[in-house]
Subunit: 301 residues, 2 copies
């Protein structure tokens, strides 16, 4: 299959690696606005050739759109306008605005709206790694608007990446990821900022930071180019999530001011419930890893 | 050396393991209010024998006090009152109130106020692991109030655990850990709580949570028995840290409401600076691990 990858960063580069290794991509054509990234992707062997978008669209069997969500939203209609028969799959972390941008497009059936939930805090072609997606969840939105062929190609791509695909409504998707993913990133970015603001002498961070600090602020290393547009596109749900988080923090602050230890203990004990959920996630991922040969993609809409 | 461990959980149990393995502890006597924990510590071979506090104090060369910080504060003067010549070392995550509780005690020179900065989100005797402390930082406060013999024993203990010991004023310690450790825990506990509150149907957390969520809420699994007292004892500094964190979150919320993407991008880029600090911490820990044979304990007061 002739695979065009638009955006040669962590996601696009990692997809290229695995699709090529599995023999699914016979040729990988890379498209990137940054000549430096494009050149680096060639050097790393992520892509066979670099070309412009029009050229790639004309010859690709599938185009993977792996660029920041605001760029997906604005570029996607133009990609669908281009001559060619490629199935177009986006990988954006928000889905409502992206789905809406091509909902009435005459070629809509060639498009699949996806969100493969995988990543690290690193970015750019050098961050691309093998096996990034294995055992993780992939969300597809509005599968009923994608044609049969497009869904078959998408299934081949995500099965090859060893992902477990499930279906969600775009708004439902955006609402839940606001809490379960985007809010985590906001809390981590701002925690990093707060500590940097106070500890002007970074020696104290070096001395006193344990593994807990590193784990909590890890996401603050993530790319602003990727995350600022995600936060903006999901601002509706994310502002509400953030308001609730701030309300919880304020209640806790009040307990602290009043030295209400019993109540603090109760809050922490309830938060402890997350252990059960996290353990469930780990179990689930182990199960996925062992059942990858039998991936079931149920249609839940 | 006859070692008494008061509190047979993650910290006490892990210290017992390493001191015994290194041959520094010829006999480990365990003290715990919970008969279940005491029995489990015996079963796991963490301790040779379980006894009451008075008995342990009478025969120990060193008593390691590894209980929640509120219990240290109230019990420490009583421990120092007991007949015996044991050096007493506490391991509490706050230091001001603990130091104050025995500052004028006639046997103060037998006491060393320590904070070995290591841990996991697990607790109890089963959480005790070998090598928990290796390469990590240990803080000692008010070393000038500890006698020569006490400091020698403390040095033997923390060198055996392969820790890098440094010195700080108790208030300075508490102020910095409020930002670099305690605030991380608060943000994680309340993030867990916020997500649990909203996602009544936990299926959505299972489906959508990536590794970022797991990393950010890991600390929410920590023991409320340990952390509620830490937060209370450090309430003075922690309320300020929390206020600053909430202020940062509110500013970000405002950017989100106003769709000020450029400003959000700037905030995220500044938070990105934490990458340099975290990389420095990792480098530092690697350096510590390779230089463990030559531990320098500089007196910085």
């Amino acid at each position: 299959m002739n695979v065009g990858v638009i955006g040669l960063g962590l996601i696009g580069g990692s997809m290229a690696r695995d699709l090529r290794a599995a023999g699914v991509a016979s040729r990988v054509m890379g498209v990137d606005l940054s000549p430096t990234h494009a050149e680096r992707a060639l050097e790393l062997g992520l892509v066979d050739v670099v070309m412009d978008l029009e050229e790639a669209a004309g010859t690709a069997d599938v185009l993977l759109v792996c660029i920041p969500v605001n760029a997906i939203q604005s570029l996607l209609p133009r990609i669908m306008d281009l001559p060619g028969n490629a199935v177009v799959i986006d990988t954006g972390s928000t889905k409502s605005l992206i789905c809406r941008s091509v909902r009435e497009h005459p070629a809509r059936e060639r498009f699949v709206a996806a969100h493969p939930i995988a990543g690290t805090e690193n970015s750019g072609p050098d961050a691309a790694i093998s096996g990034l997606f294995a055992g993780k969840v992939n969300i597809i939105c509005e599968p009923e608007r994608s044609g049969k062929k497009a869904m078959e190609v998408a299934r081949l791509v995500f099965d090859t990446l060893k992902m477990k695909t499930t279906f969600m409504d775009p708004d439902e998707h955006d609402k839940h990821v606001a809490y379960v993913s985007h809010l985590s990133h906001v809390s981590s970015f701002l925690l990093g900022q707060t500590v940097l603001d106070i500890e002007k002498d970074e020696k104290n961070i070096f001395t006193l930071a344990g593994s807990g600090f590193a784990s909590t602020v890890r996401l603050a290393k993530s790319s602003p180019d990727m995350w600022a547009p995600i936060f903006e596109q999901n601002a509706g749900f994310l502002t509400r999530a953030l308001e609730e988080y701030i309300a919880h923090l304020k209640r806790f602050h009040q307990c602290l001011v009043n030295r209400e230890t019993a109540q603090m203990h109760e809050i922490l004990s309830r938060a402890n419930e997350i252990r059960r959920v996290l353990n469930g996630i780990e179990l689930n991922q182990q199960k996925n890893n062992s059942q990858l040969t039998d991936i079931k993609t149920e249609h839940k809409l």
